[in-house]
Assembly symmetry: C2
Homo-oligomer: 480 residues x 2
């Protein structure tokens, strides 16, 4: 869908106001709905909406870009969401389902019956159907596959055969291919015979008779070169190509690095089988970084903000349970020193400081390391260096902030030794935090896990238990 | 720089191997350097490198894409980084400086003298110079401005006059403009007379004699339509346009939503003044999400992973200091109940569980809310609904997990009341966590702050102090 097709038929706005206008209208629509929900005269307003406003709403909805409708559907609570969804014309259902988040998609699909689902999916391209497939009921999917032609069916099956994080699962098949032994003039004539070019077409793919990719011809070059030249003279023979088994995150990084808009996908024999486009890569980049934040705190998946309490619980319970275990362990560590605390109750008062600062500092380290790992910036040698640096930062922080808090403890409890133990414990716990902040993500990566996964929960667990043990241990040795 | 210009002259690889080959070569290069640093025979190897390998290295470097070189520079420790940097040909310095992260850029600029800096900057476009300008010494910048022609100087000044997060600061001036009263044939002839088209050109901008934008002509449409048609017949008159004062994050969201590759930027009178491209938007998206993660834990800015210990300290100290204060407050809260702890030391043992689970759960909530706010999905009405949902989740989690830990406490200390207090405290602290997890980011946003800023530090501070107060308070009321 090109941006120039986003025109809203009601809009009399000039181009430069179009965007602002769209935002306003969207806001207005949402407020309307929200207001209705709040109103005292619920029934009256409801009937007004259903008698008068539905027609207006219908017009609004028909005029909105699928992405804007997806945004509105995501921002609305479930009842209003379904009300709007039912007003969306059947032939637009498919593209909107592709735009909404996974969680919202689920809620929309649950509201559709079999014929509606099939009608929606039939509007889509092969890779889009594959994307939707895992959310469709088995019988709908079978019926759908049955209705597709052989090529479409094969493509859907191929796309479904790859993992979600592989290029094969997100590539599309909208390619314009040309031969290298024709002139640019011929290419231009050929393009004119096509009714339209696939979206994002910034280059044509040059293949031989076996569909092996031999080069790419950027449209920019096609336009400025002498039409009498052959494609072979003008084309680039060493474009960036990808394989269906490539990792999408790495592919997205290559798109970022080389400023790509589209790139060909070839099989092991060099045959052209599809293409990747920047819009799919932008989605990958967005999802990757969302996932990183989420996973630090053990949120399993993207949550519909209006998900039921029950669904939210399920999404979050796993790491909370792990957290409960780690908190229990920390508690038992303290339990080992109950005798010391009984004798010097100030220990109970001061111990959370040691644990807390350690946790925060460890989280800072882990944040930096996870990012560097994602960008592939850490080699075995530099890892050692990084660890040394983090330990250096930890020692200094420990001496400075541990010193400050040590003085405070001394003044509060009139006990110099207690202050010294505090400073020492802070420094040691910060060293532990730095070490684990480097090692946890690198270990997760070594075992092929996402280095961000639950990293925040883990580092906090270690700096809590470790901090209590170090502080209470030192106190027991030197003060009791 | 088009991807097809990324060709490495040494590479005899087929297109489909190009990417893999590049990665390998890069790896090899890094390992070489890393190995040298580690070697026992440091001097020997060093001399070998300097006698034999420099020529080879030079060839490698010359063959690398600027983005790949930037990647290598970022992944190398300071000494090696500068060694490689000195091998980079002067005319490539500018584009590489634009590719590296801010922190690494600083380290590279520090190594260059005035003539080198000027030579590097002179290679760049106006908006690129503006991007670099804030890192350049004042005298270099003045000399540079002096050397530019009037148009260039005006563009640089204009770009520098916008904030970093405004479209004006990142737009470029590489536009192809046409008139609407000419035929497509004329446009095609005109393009052919240009030596090359600006990168990412997916549409031509149609302007009138006052340079007011009247529409856009996608190249795709230019290619498939009858050359005898007028531009006015074919062009889209309502493309997405942006203003220089627009927020870049919102602009990036529009690019994502409408799958844009380029878009025109117009002033208040509708005059075309520049364009925004997808590669700049991809950088914005990446930076936004990096910043979100960083700011949760109070990392001030992107850190060079090999930054000196001192620089790292400066980057991290502010929130650690805040954390120290909050930890001290939490400690004083416990101090209020030292008498109770003296009587029942189990309280000291169990209290971190209440605080820890609250912190983790609050972080889960805040993560979700920050994300929804970034996507603009929360309206005043839905905020109330969200709060209700989060409180619902908190009550259930409190009863379930608080119940579990209550039973454990009961069994451990043979004290039913202690178990009940534990369950009640967990539930209340989770409610506090949920409430603050919703309110903190929304409040920050209301005061125009980044909702992610230090949010993790703040929620943990509240659930710590709150958790201790609730638990020890309840215990003092009912158990002591």
């Amino acid at each position: 869908m090109s941006e120039v097709e986003t025109r809203n038929p009601h809009s009399q706005l000039q181009g430069q106001l179009a965007r602002v206008g769209e935002l306003l209208r969207r806001q207005h629509l949402v407020e309307n709905l929200a207001h209705r929900q709040q109103g005292d005269h619920h029934d009256l307003v409801e009937s007004l909406v259903h008698r008068q406003h539905v027609a207006e709403l219908q017009r609004e909805i028909d005029g909105l870009h699928p992405a804007d409708l997806a945004y509105i559907l995501e921002a609305l609570p479930p009842e209003e969401r379904l009300e709007i969804w039912n007003l969306v014309k059947a032939d637009r259902d498919g593209e909107i389902l592709l735009e909404v988040s996974d969680a919202v998609r689920e809620s929309l699909l649950a509201d559709m019956d079999k014929p509606e689902l099939i009608a929606a999916a039939e509007q889509l391209d092969a890779e889009e159907i594959a994307d939707l497939a895992e959310d469709l009921p088995e019988d709908v999917l079978q019926e759908l596959m049955h209705r597709l032609n052989a090529q479409q069916r094969e493509r859907v099956q191929s796309a479904m055969s790859w993992e979600d994080d592989q290029v094969g699962a997100i590539m599309d098949f909208d390619m314009v291919t040309i031969r290298e032994d024709v002139t640019l003039e011929t290419v231009l004539r050929y393009l004119r015979r096509l009714k339209e070019l696939p979206e994002h077409t910034d280059k044509l793919f040059v293949v031989n008779q076996d569909t092996v990719l031999t080069g790419v011809l950027p449209i920019r070059w096609l336009l400025v070169n002498d039409p009498a030249k052959d494609v072979a003279e003008v084309m680039a023979s060493d474009a960036n190509t990808f394989h269906p088994e490539d990792d999408v995150a790495e592919t997205a990084q290559a798109f970022e690095r080389y400023d790509l808009v589209t790139a060909p996908v070839v099989d092991a024999n060099g045959k052209l089988i599809g293409r990747v486009t920047i819009d799919a890569m932008v989605d990958v980049i967005r999802e990757e970084s969302d996932a990183e934040v989420r996973e630090r705190f053990g949120l399993r998946e993207d949550e519909d903000i209006f998900a039921s309490v029950w669904k939210s619980l399920r999404n979050r319970w796993a790491w909370l349970a792990i957290n409960l275990v780690t908190a229990f362990v920390a508690s038992r560590v303290i339990g080992l020193f109950e005798g010391s605390i009984q004798k010097l109750v100030a220990l109970a008062t001061l111990m959370p400081i040691v644990a807390g600062i350690g946790g925060n500092s460890g989280n800072q380290t882990i944040t930096m390391i996870v990012r560097a790992l994602a960008l592939d910036q850490i080699s075995p040698t530099s890892a050692k260096r990084l660890l040394r640096k983090e330990l250096g930062v930890a020692v200094l922080n420990g001496l400075i902030w541990g010193g400050v808090i040590g003085v405070v403890a001394w003044l509060l409890y009139r006990n110099v030794s207690l202050g010294l133990v505090m400073t020492a414990a802070m420094t040691l716990n910060l060293l532990l935090a730095a070490m684990m902040g480097v090692l946890i993500p690198m270990t997760l990566l070594k075992f092929d896990r996402d280095p961000a996964m639950g990293s925040s929960v883990m580092i906090t667990a270690i700096t809590d238990s470790g901090g209590f043990f170090i502080f209470l241990g030192l106190a027991t040795l030197f003060l009791i």
